[in-house]
Symmetry: C2
Subunit: 891 residues, 2 copies
Amino acid sequence: MEAEQSSPPPPPSAGDDCLVFKVNGERFEVPEIDPSTTLLEFLRSKTRFKSVKLGCGEGGCGACVVLLSKYDTVNKEVENFTVSSCLTLLCSINGCSVTTSEGLGNSKDGFHPIHQRFAGFHASQCGFCTPGMCMSLFSALANAEKTNQPQASPGFSKLTVSEAEKAIAGNLCRCTGYRPIADACKSFAADVDMEDLGINSFWNKGDKKEIRLSRLPSYNPKDHTCPYTEELEDEYKSTRLLNSEKVSWYSPVTIKGLQNLLHPDMVENGARIKLVVGNTGNGYYKETDIYGKYIDLRYIPELSMFRKHNSGIELGAALTISKVILYLKEKSKANEYSSGDLLFTKIADHMEKVASGFIRNSASLGGHKHETITMEEFLSRPPLEPKDVLLSVHVPFHEPTRIDGSVHTNSKLFFDTYRAAPRPLGNALPYLNAAFLADISCDRNGSLVNNIRLAFGAYGTKHATRARKIEEYLTGKILSLRVLDEAIKLVKGAVVSEEGTSYAAYRSSLAVGVLFEFLNSFSSVASAISAGSSEELSGSVLEGTAKSINDKISQTGRPPLLSSAKQVIQSSRDYYPVGEPMPKFGAAIQASGEAMYVDDIPSPPNCLHGAFICSTRPVARVKSISFKSNQPTDVISVKDIPREGENIGCMAMFGSEPLFADDLTRFAGDLIGFVVAESQKNANLAAKTALVEYDTEGLDPPILTVEEAVERSSFFDVPPYLYPQEVGDFSKGMAEADHKILSAKIKLGSQYYFYMETQTALAIPDEDNCMVVYSSIQCPEFAHRVIARCLGVPDHNVRVLTRRVGGGFWWKGTKSNAVATACALAAHKLRRPVRIYLDRKTDMIIAGGRHPMKITYSVGFKSDGKITALHLDILINAGVTADISPIMRVT
Amino acid sequence: MEAEQSSPPPPPSAGDDCLVFKVNGERFEVPEIDPSTTLLEFLRSKTRFKSVKLGCGEGGCGACVVLLSKYDTVNKEVENFTVSSCLTLLCSINGCSVTTSEGLGNSKDGFHPIHQRFAGFHASQCGFCTPGMCMSLFSALANAEKTNQPQASPGFSKLTVSEAEKAIAGNLCRCTGYRPIADACKSFAADVDMEDLGINSFWNKGDKKEIRLSRLPSYNPKDHTCPYTEELEDEYKSTRLLNSEKVSWYSPVTIKGLQNLLHPDMVENGARIKLVVGNTGNGYYKETDIYGKYIDLRYIPELSMFRKHNSGIELGAALTISKVILYLKEKSKANEYSSGDLLFTKIADHMEKVASGFIRNSASLGGHKHETITMEEFLSRPPLEPKDVLLSVHVPFHEPTRIDGSVHTNSKLFFDTYRAAPRPLGNALPYLNAAFLADISCDRNGSLVNNIRLAFGAYGTKHATRARKIEEYLTGKILSLRVLDEAIKLVKGAVVSEEGTSYAAYRSSLAVGVLFEFLNSFSSVASAISAGSSEELSGSVLEGTAKSINDKISQTGRPPLLSSAKQVIQSSRDYYPVGEPMPKFGAAIQASGEAMYVDDIPSPPNCLHGAFICSTRPVARVKSISFKSNQPTDVISVKDIPREGENIGCMAMFGSEPLFADDLTRFAGDLIGFVVAESQKNANLAAKTALVEYDTEGLDPPILTVEEAVERSSFFDVPPYLYPQEVGDFSKGMAEADHKILSAKIKLGSQYYFYMETQTALAIPDEDNCMVVYSSIQCPEFAHRVIARCLGVPDHNVRVLTRRVGGGFWWKGTKSNAVATACALAAHKLRRPVRIYLDRKTDMIIAGGRHPMKITYSVGFKSDGKITALHLDILINAGVTADISPIMRVT
């Protein structure tokens, strides 16, 4: 081993300096590329495979999921797994085969049954998330066939209904409510109950099972294996390693080789070094740093090994989380270790809740510093320096505590982990992580804590911590209500978020809850035993009890994901075919990813890309905008609106809105500039790092609440047709009421309209002062007029095309106008095509935020709940002005 | 001088290895480029200035004319001149400013009065030639202001009507008939007669001159000078020379430097060298050779000098023809030389008939080997080796022949040149050139030939020749009818075209004609004198006579180009505004070049370019198609038509036509393959150099004439609705006729439908098996159906857009179908956009050739010409099949 470590990296073989991979069977050779390029960027800009969508850019939505096939030289087989292409660096797929949804099937070569069933089950609405969903399901189906499960009946996969449902965990959808998607996925499962599948275009209500099955687009696991992998086996049987000076990407195969690359002498001009495994950390850190050298750690055997020691197991730091989970589960199943199997299962279970499958498939164990399995000592040290390399993680075996050298009678180890996050599965940052390890003896006196370790993390501190005070308090105690009560008080003092952490009180109460749940189980066991069983408390009984406790926790702590429901829809033939479950036109090409959204339209030659600079100050003068190093091609602002034109960015309910801030910014988030650059990446970077000088001298402070707006009489004009109408006699209604709420208030905060596809537009100047604008807008007729007025050209000079909207929810009816108009204005000035695809953060600033509202109401109602009088006053806050609009007055 | 020659070329100054120039004020820096790239290719593919159209690619049509502005370091002023951008190599415009029609004005910044007047005079029909026309006129207007002519009245140029008309000589138009174009040009002229200008949208019939003038879009020479030249003066006051290894382009400044570059040691791997001045020769030779080194000869003083010796004048070989003309004219005006001024004027006049102004502006004297002024000895030598450099041309002074040391009494030199070509001015290859120099003495006895030189060229031999036998015969003879007759017989024997020369007999008879015209003048003079004048035949009288002869030739040989006509159009108000001279919508943007034709649509990313391989054999099997070195991306043929599709390329009057030859080629020119490559240049080259193996074993010979078709009963089916109808009683009509033609025949050959824009299409695959095709087609509905049937997709999957047609003449109604369908088929197969812009030669093969016809007719008519009976049988020959269709039978 040592000899291997000290040997120099082998000389690169022919072609090692050229990145080679396949996409849907097409071979790509890339001799030069910016190593920070992601697989998503490459696919979307250099290939015709646009099914790979940019949703969040942080591995959080699954819209960009692709299948990666890689030849595993150790197991001598092709591995197929999903990854987020938005995080995967292109160089890290050297020697791989990438499959996108178009690669599974398409309108020309025929659709894959996944596509057909997504269409038939109405599982694709806006369609933006669908190709990623399809890839997640495909990967699950392909890998299910490799398991030892018995062969399913013809037309079905080995996959279970539960696995089918979990297959798409982490793939977000904003339209369907998931039910039809889950149905499409479950329809492949070996154990599916056809009755349980919802409305679809394949069969009629009441059709027999055989008929239903025959109507499903046929699936045969053998016919629908992973494509494009045969050549991979031929070509890549010996691992192909990228070592390229041009690309600044290196793949050392020994620790020594790695050390050489990290040696200061080898680093030119102090260039920053990036150590890469899956690059999933970028989804969280979103770094914009520029690195001079990328080192891929995946080919150093020490970093990718599993090893069993007497004291525990050692896991290479570059192992993916998925592989660690697999390994831990296999080990615990195999019962290889005298103890600790419970612990390994629990750790594996916990890890399955971290991020999504397509993230765990490439995220490394070591790279994920917030994992609870890492050692306390390690965690409490400052973060690793960029050049430090974490080699492996050691997980010790645990044996019951020995007192005076011998194990306590009936002593048993209990271990459990907890994770509370907005979603039980799939990508979501946790509010709290916790892991508890306890050595407990139970007898008729109760449960005695021989030893206990309590770790809490992710609740708003720099790193996870041990709650030592509570551990000390509990050790040697018999668990009683009083003891539990005291422990809980201590938790409240121990789990305290840092200032500025959201939901701090909630996190703290979560800590209380999980500790109570863990400890209370033992109390219950003890009570049960003391309640009358005369059985000997043999070790085996306790073991069984422990298992049941853990199972119970599984059942209660994690409600089964599997959803089951019956959907009964009464369809009348009166308005046939209205109400019939007809497949949506274009649903199949949405699933295959061939459906063309605005950002899928290839950039015309000479196209520029835009990004917005938003004001960070409400009610301020913008004195100047400057750029440090990322000088954009141009900055468009209110000054660039043609003399014949108008500063207009939207025609809304309460009148038109300006495109750009003029003398004063109206609110934080107001548009003050539109930078254009040669790529979206550069435009985003320029906008993000722009230096804006503000001046607020002599200006009134902004109005930030509804109350301030009322106080300063800053109101919208409400158009007459929106004036409230009184219905009935309010006083009479109130007089007749059994119960009255004379006055009460509801305050609604602002809200971000989350759609999978961010705001986007592409403006192409045409001959004779004409402008063609592709916009992801729900109301192209609005953009048409706004653009014509802004540019000061006749309406017929503007053509606005909405091909598809990747989710709208009305904010693509209003906010899209400004986005489209800014592109048109830039294209008009520069006489070049200009496009934009907003990053999620800017989208949240610009398009996010429905006005916060305050509702004051009075209600009178009868004892049976019938309303006799209702009066609502709705106040909408819009930053500097507010609208007092008693929209409704009902009796 | 010698010192200068031997000094090494100066070390390149900073930036000398980077090509720098401006286009419409935009600066371009091009560090690397294929040196064979033309200015046209660059403008059309790398800039947004698409006004520069590719018409013929040989400097023959003027559609690509641009204005070049160059700082002349000798005269210290900016020179402005037009060039054909299709021939001009990009590297040769280093340090120049290019102005295209968009640069003169446009829809955004306002149109130039040239654009406005072209629109108002209806001078732009299809619009494809218009931007080039505008540039030619603009150059003439700009340069007119530099002359010493008196200032014109306000609103007018110094340009004369005659010059205005000549300004566009060489710019071809196929739509307008030139009248409106000439009107637009003349409207600027100082001496224009407003009454002479035709119908236009500016004024009404009967408006007074002042009103007319006020209605013309205003022109002020001072406001409309050459744009984009000020910076040129600042930046390029010292000549900027391109010397770049990357580009393989060198600009030596001394003979020695040139020799160094030509030295075998300096030429890597025997790379071929190209000596460049204007590259106009490529228009004729159309070379496809690849050169390893380009040497620009324009900066060597010796090659660009004018020098007067005692024996004559010497002209640097790299001087442009335009400069030589200017020099010769100036010299003859200045009367600097004791004799020979006549000769210089004549040579200058002759040179003005060679090619077009925009060619003469860059074509070099030396480079044009077919010039008649070059020496006989030089001409009879084999062509120059690529590395030989012609330094200069010496034009000797000529004095009357001395006999025994003294000049013959009344002896006078006469010189004239002749050029017969399809067009008197503008680019057209001559049928014959001739130059005659005679020393004649005239007295009452007649005209005595003391000495004579007769040169003929361009009639179908390798080089121009002296007709020595005729010279010998004529010398010492008094010109008489008998002598003339004998001389003419000798010409017939001397001017004999080589085998295969077109119009051989015509060329020979032209030679007879011009010699007769030259010699007969002297006979006439002599006759006139002998007829009675008692005047002394003083030298001055003879001189006057000589002048009048030459003038006479001018008048008779060259009809004045200036056209003058009155156009009276009766417009009725009954159908107002029908018949009103309203400006055509889009005419101004056609003039400014902003109008978008199919080939002006920027190539979508990943676009491929196609080129047709046409069969060279009628009725043959294609065994194989292979490529030597220019391997294209793919070759589409009949095999690529989808199973659901159909081999269809056109739906014509007599049924549909296949797209590709299937088992057998139908005729020479039948489509057998469609190569696609990454650029149009590569596709054309691959198609041109493809090796096609044919097999004709066991096949019937092709039918090549109408007679053969009839003999072999090979007929088209004529659809019933086209059956001829008999009108009246033919026998009765014949019986009543005073005169009868019982049977006669007319044979019409095939014909090429010349449109300025060749056939072109762009096919872009869209989602869901859809195809968007931009085609320069007159009937998009035909292409729509043909493409859908060929691809085997529903009609609604195909969208065909005709934005503009750059001239059609019906062949863009039929032949465009196959062009659009081939692109669509390739795009369908390869799932990439595919476009084509046919080179003129392939266009002539594919789209050219209306079927040759044979008409047999019988007519009976009265003495007053009234037809009493008419019977026509029209036979159309279509290669392998013929159509016997007695279309019309009229009485």
